[in-house]
Amino acid sequence: MIETTDLCKHFDGTKAVDGVTFSVDKGEIFGFLGPNGAGKTTTINILCTLLTPTSGEARVNGYDVSKNPNEVRKSIGLIFQEPSLDDRLTAEENLDFHGMIYDVPKGIRKERKKELLDMVDLWDRRKDVVKTYSGGMKRRLEIARGLLHHPKILFLDEPTLGLDPQTRSHIWRYINKLREEQGITIFMTTHYMDEAENCDRIAIIDYGKVVALDTPDNLKRFVGGDVITIKTTDDEKAEKEIGEQYNLHVRRDAGGIHLEIENSEEFIPQFISSFSTKINSIHLRRPTLDDVFLKLTGHEIRTEEASVRDRMKAGMRMRGGH
């Protein structure tokens, strides 16, 4: 449904998107994960015909975004990262504008309006001017609006930023229902790791380049095992003992002793039965996408501006890793 080849967008000097190639299948939830300024929004803007690429090609629903923008627009729905409501209109008028301009028949429009406003818990406020809404309410209204015309492909640019967990789960339930009933394709960006794990596949993007693309599980497997944290009565002695008995990478800090290990299920029982120091607690953690990102790029996803050294390291890892 979405296909890009060597897509680039340069803003005088900045390579916002720098040779991105990927494809998304029908019905898939595809995630773009990356830090601030990685080029996620720019990629979406190209795919939704708001920006023309500097070079490269992008097809959405089979149509080229530069040559056939009108056909592309008919196939998509968007929830922008930045506000895009008319705040002098009411919630209902905003939805009506959207429904009419997307040519949703009146009866269906009415039905969905109710359904969606209920979903985001704004039905009672529908006659209020958007100016009087809180930030979260505006966000919820935007999400409802983006879903109103049941697009074939839905672009979500950090959709649930700043929303409470209950609303998030309502929204995801609705999106999943749409996906089951109508096979819609979803392209989303996020820098929330937990949200990224909903995706079928994830592209990790950093400095305008895709540094990895795979299912969340495969990406995590790339980290090389689970993370075990052990607390004992005497961590120092325990560390020594582990060092003597197992050939493992061990790290000790105030939180306990951390081990990275491939088949933790077999390791733990064996470890407990043979270990001589008294164990207070043992904690097993699956690797998260945070670990993946750290390993791939050499910097944490949350850092706003990674240093130049980090950037070089990331480049070298890329070359070495493939």
């Binding site: 708001l50 922008f80 008319d86 009419m100 301009i101 040519d103």
Partner: protein, 248 residues
């Protein structure tokens, strides 16, 4: 779908127009004040110099002025939409950019017609009598002038990424257009350099046509006025639509 999009875009602007109470009150109060104060104030100057009724002379000019400001403001509201993000909602919609541009132009025309009608209701202040035929003619001229001016505003808005340039157009385009249109004083006595500006100013033709229809008093033939404005409107619309289609 083309006309539906045009309709939706107009509908939104009109809802916004009537929602803002201060805007509605202002649209009545402003021309009323102009007519009452300027008309009465300058009347004394002009009558002492032996001229005709200045308030009546001013009346078509006030309509022209209002059409100019309404048209330009409604067009440059696109810049506001860009700043507050709503433009994106329109630009990714499955409708042609041309329909968006046409919708914006027509909504400018519609707002000008409303404003123009309000001023006509105020004609009693300056003791101008408007027959139904004159009213229809005036509305037609307003429509044409506003079409030309809105598309000009739209062209500017599509090229202007933010508010910063807005003062520039106000000071160097809209104000001179307003002052050098013959809305306030007759063109005949002006020096040549000013006259040439008046000649290329589309608003001059609008004001002249209005004055001709309302007071039976004009510089050019009505057909000249109409042809100039129509030509200007067609060229501006074509350029504005092209610019709008290209804008990122």
């Amino acid at each position: 779908m083309f006309w539906k999009a045009v309709y939706v875009i107009c509908l939104r602007d009109i809802r916004r127009f009537f929602r803002e109470k201060s805007q509605v009150i202002g649209s009545i109060a402003r021309p009323a004040l102009w007519l009452a104060i300027m008309g009465t104030g300058f009347n004394t100057v002009f009558s002492s110099s032996g001229s005709d009724n200045y308030a009546q002379f001013l009346f078509p000019g006030i309509i022209g002025m209002t059409v100019l400001f309404t048209s330009v403001f409604s067009a440059v509201s696109v810049i506001w939409d860009r700043q507050f993000g709503f433009l994106r909602e329109m630009l990714v919609a499955p409708v042609s950019r041309t329909s968006i541009a046409v919708g914006k132009t027509l909504s400018g025309c519609f707002q000008s017609l409303i404003q123009g009608s309000i001023i006509m209701v105020l004609s009693f202040i300056v003791d101008v009598h408007l027959s139904p035929l004159i009213i229809v003619q005036v509305l037609a001229i307003i429509l044409l002038a506003s079409f030309a001016l809105t598309s000009m505003g739209l062209l500017i808005a599509s090229r202007m990424p933010s508010f910063e340039g807005f003062n520039l157009i106000m000071n160097f385009l809209v104000m001179p257009m307003f002052l050098m249109s013959g809305a306030f004083f007759p063109i005949s006595g002006l020096p040549a350099w000013m006259k040439s500006i008046v000649t290329i100013n589309p608003l001059s033709y609008g004001v002249d046509a209005l004055r001709g229809v309302i007071l039976g008093f004009h510089e050019h033939a009505l057909t000249t006025d109409i042809l100039f404005m129509a030509g200007f409107a067609i060229i501006m619309t074509a350029v504005a639509v092209t610019a709008f289609n290209k804008a990122e």
